[in-house]
Point group: C2
Chain length 149, copies 2
Amino acid sequence: VVIARRFKAIGVVHSPFKRAEDIPMELNADPHGFEAVESEIEIFSEFEPGLKDLDGFSHLLVVFVFHAAGEARLLVRPPFETELRGVFATRSPHRPNPIGLTVVKLLGRTGAVLRVSGFDAVESTPVLDIKPYTRKDQKADIRTGWIKN
Amino acid sequence: VVIARRFKAIGVVHSPFKRAEDIPMELNADPHGFEAVESEIEIFSEFEPGLKDLDGFSHLLVVFVFHAAGEARLLVRPPFETELRGVFATRSPHRPNPIGLTVVKLLGRTGAVLRVSGFDAVESTPVLDIKPYTRKDQKADIRTGWIKN
């Protein structure tokens, strides 16, 4: 039952980080590390009508492509870690499908441009989807395995 | 800068809901509606090594394909709503890229099969990615726009 599907970018990220190497390593280790980072998500004009009602949400789930990820691996070594971890137990870009996901804060919208904070994607990252963050996405009392707090 | 990418299924969902019509409408309206629903995610054996360390996480983000979604729309009418909403302000399957995302609770793992609860995907849904739900995904004090609580 192996299926493959083709997805297209609905927009593109404009980030203060031009390349992955521009992101300070400490930011990834801190759950609040990216909160002060502001980016823009430019939605292509043909999709702009789909942004109606988005302004009422404080947070968005952004689904994007790790477009510069290189080859997939099933075991990866996260930053500051010595052990290899299963890729599905990490947010590494080196995944079988190079799809990234980040919860961002929506600061404002001007036409088809969303101003957000907390986004760890680099300049020119293709965006596949935007979804509202809702109560169903809030989980309390979580266990986070190998990730140190 | 419109790019398109091809993604392949890494696994498949086995759900008590055989088709979308089998899901009681009330479940979607209640943030806890799917909590008692148990499903299995069968990861294809070639990807099983990537599941290492997953057991330590209580919740997972599952990225999947709305494989039976039909055509995309930019304005959709959510269940129980009278107004049309921008599709990116909803979790509707009728999206430009039919990608779904649900936070599920991990109940257990047997080999390449994950037993989960809280999953709203139907039988045979193709899974694109599994990610650990971490502190970065927990957002307090959210606003959820048109969605009634």
